[in-house]
């Protein structure tokens, strides 16, 4: 059967003379693969929130001296943390791929006289920038740049 949605969804500003039934969502709509993908996309926000907390902990430990830092590194080696970071990596890749695929058509028709490049070029640029930033960050973390 159908699921309820917001009871005021698409309700006119002035009630009509006929009694209407509350708006509903057809059964099965939220289990359609496309919809599930979108819900998963939104749910990755929870992962980023947790990553944010871990990042704050990292900064805190950095300012609290070598012992605190070593202790944090020991904790982060825990398989649960490693598994969480694997989930975070998958989330980032999933969101980036979805975002990159939708980004070109969100571009305005033109900015002044300048028209945006074709969609494949925009996507290629996004992927190139992503790979470039990842390479630079990896180099920095590996001590290859500084």
């Amino acid at each position: 059967m159908a699921r309820p949605v917001h009871p005021q969804a698409m309700t006119p500003s002035r009630a009509g003379r006929t009694r209407t039934a509350a708006p509903q969502a057809a059964s099965g709509w939220y289990t359609q693969p496309r919809m599930l993908k979108y819900l998963l996309f939104d749910a990755t926000g929870i992962v980023y929130l947790l990553v944010g907390f871990i990042a704050l902990r990292v900064v805190w430990a950095l300012g609290s001296g070598p012992e605190a830092w070593q202790e944090l590194m020991r904790q982060l080696a825990n398989p649960l943390y490693v598994a969480f970071h694997a989930v975070a990596l998958v989330s980032v890749v999933f969101v980036a791929v979805r975002f990159f695929s939708l980004f070109p058509k969100a571009q305005p028709a033109h900015i002044g006289p300048v028209k945006p490049p074709p969609a494949p070029l925009i996507m290629a640029g996004l992927y190139a920038a992503w790979l470039g930033v990842t390479a630079v960050v990896t180099l920095i973390l590996a001590g290859g740049l500084f």
Binding site: M1, A2, V5, A9, T11, R19, Y38, D42, L102
Partner: protein
């Protein structure tokens, strides 16, 4: 042609009798070339004349026969019965109050369409002797796609924001406003962009892209909404360096 029996599970609602919508099943002998609308018309003509549903052109132009078929928003005159199994669920469009059976309340949709000023706004009417306002094919191309909307409201049924935010202007209305904003003959961009910067408009869109996925005319309302976001911001920024109404 050989006919086959299929079960249609239809949402029924009589405002005078039913406390809430219910489902009713009908066995329909369908022909291979039938659309879902043909089956609904068969039910009304041959089995149960009390069934109420909207339809008109039967060629995916009028936008009247939008319904949920097996949980997906679809134009029933375009959707082939042969694409479904033996059990087909037909329900009124999601996210709309139900007036009767498969008929939904349109008033809110009409209010939202009207609110984006879907007409060409001119500071000064062009005199007849000035001739037609010419438009190049390139200028036409900038908004042509967004003018194909048939107001079938499938996008409103697909949109998760419409389901949760009653004040959201919605995909078709924003796409329509954007269509006029992109029209080289129009001078109402600032007025519409001010509307678009308000509560429950373009920035409420979470870019689920569902509106574009279900659009039967490939209008791509999600593109219009997200382009409108950009234009609304640019208009706001340029408002600081140019006088209002200055072009």
């Amino acid at each position: 042609m050989s006919e086959q029996k299929k079960t249609f599970v239809i949402t029924r609602f009589d405002p005078d009798r039913d406390p809430a919508p219910r489902q009713q099943s009908y066995e329909v002998p369908v022909q291979p070339d039938w659309k879902v609308l043909d089956a609904l018309n068969y039910i009304k003509d041959e089995i149960d004349p009390s069934l109420s549903h909207r339809w008109s052109c039967r060629m995916a132009v009028c936008g009247s026969c939008g319904m949920m078929v097996n949980g997906k928003p679809s134009l029933t005159c375009k959707d082939a019965v042969s694409d479904y199994g033996n059990r087909i669920e037909v329900a009124p469009l999601s996210n709309f109050p139900i007036v009767r059976d498969l008929i939904v309340e349109l008033e809110s949709f009409m209010e939202k369409l009207k609110s984006v000023k879907p007409w060409i706004v001119k500071a000064k009417e062009r005199a007849l002797e000035e001739g037609a306002h010419r438009q190049s094919p390139e200028q036409l191309e900038e908004f042509k796609q967004f003018s194909y909307c048939i107001n079938c409201m499938l996008c409103y049924s697909a949109c998760p924001v419409v389901a949760n935010e009653p004040d959201f202007l919605g995909p078709a209305a924003i796409a329509l406003g954007h269509r006029y904003n992109m029209d080289s003959r129009d001078e109402g961009q600032s007025e519409r962009n001010e509307i678009f910067r308000g509560e429950g408009t373009v920035f409420s869109c979470s870019y689920a892209n569902e509106c574009s996925e279900v659009c039967p005319k490939h209008v791509d309302p999600a593109a219009a909404v997200n382009q409108a976001k950009f234009n609304a911001v640019i208009d706001w920024v340029t408002g600081f360096v140019t006088t209002r109404g200055g072009k």
